[in-house]
Amino acid sequence: VSGGWELEVHGTEAKLLRKVAGERITVTFNINNSIPPSVDEDTQEDQKPDEQEPDITSTPNFVVEVVKDDTKQTLVLDCHYPEDEVGQEGEEESDIFTIREVSFQPTGEADWKDTNYTLNTDSLDWALYDHLMDFLADRGVDNAFADELIELSTALEHQEYIKFLEDLKSFVKCQ
């Protein structure tokens, strides 16, 4: 992913890290359950034999954490891709990704604090939502980033899938 991000992969979880202007930004996603449902069976039956099936892409939810050097709080933004629009032919008319929830969490603590207020953006003032999107864009999390994250996630998912098939083959052969 362009923009000076470091990548760490632990199994199915990947982290992109970046430091900029006194802030540490982390983007975390998991490739498990990241492939959206394909077109329904009725459509598939009508498909002509020579038509190519749509590419399988991985569109994981991703969590952006922003830690400023001088605070003990981490701003956490839970981001999602639209459920049924990525990868279809033609350009779509919606945002490439959306912010679903925003919360402050104590920096450095692994456990999520349920007692910290979580803002759901469904009913959020749109002007404030735009500011949050601009906040992310200023830190490198914009539409271009979201697109590259899909490519990265798809590649990782494919890699894990192949490994799983190989493990399955070995396991089945064992006596």
């Binding site: 350009e91 008319e93 919606s94 490439i96 749109w126 002007a127 735009d130 601009d134 539409n143 271009a144």
Partner: protein, 162 residues
């Protein structure tokens, strides 16, 4: 009033909040603050598809407006129910605009183009010289109000069309 902004393109870095501020001010200048508008920042692909489907010109363009009402220039709808408060959709061809705005302030060009699109939603056209003059005058008027508010120096999109 609800102003929905969507950024459906990946090629051009965009800041939504300044665009929203400008559009809200333009709608106020048009006397249309109580109405709803949707603005989609689109890439070449989407603009090409829409331009081809609705104007039989399958090529990217700078702005496409889809009014929800048939209005005389400057007329405002008289809504009888909630959904009639929707003025329509404006698609900004951000990739196209950025490509042709070399050297100019992109945010300013987007704002001027959006102003043009909003005027189309309110029935302004530029198919004849007199129509263009009327539309140009209105664009000049609302951009001047925006300039006073924001300290900008924006001019209408279609200067010199006729």
């Amino acid at each position: 009033m609800s102003l929905v902004i969507r950024n459906a393109q990946r090629s051009v870095p965009l800041r939504r909040a300044p665009l929203r501020r400008a559009l809200s001010a333009l709608l106020a200048a048009l006397g249309a603050s109580r109405f709803d508008v949707a603005l989609v920042c689109a890439g070449d692909g989407l603009m090409r598809r829409l331009n081809g489907a609705y104007r039989q010109r399958p090529e990217p363009t700078d702005v496409l407006s889809f009014p929800a009402h048939r209005l005389a220039p400057g007329q405002l709808p008289r809504p009888r129910c909630r959904h009639e408060y929707h003025l329509g959709d404006v698609f900004l061809g951000v990739e196209y605009i950025a490509r042709h705005a070399a050297g100019e302030d992109l945010e300013g060009v987007l704002t001027v183009t959006a102003a043009h699109g909003l005027c189309h939603l309110l029935g302004y056209q530029h198919n004849t010289k007199s129509e263009w003059q009327q539309m140009y005058q209105k664009e000049e008027e609302i951009l001047e109000k925006l300039n006073q508010l924001m300290g900008t120096n924006l001019r209408p999109l279609t200067a010199g069309l006729f």
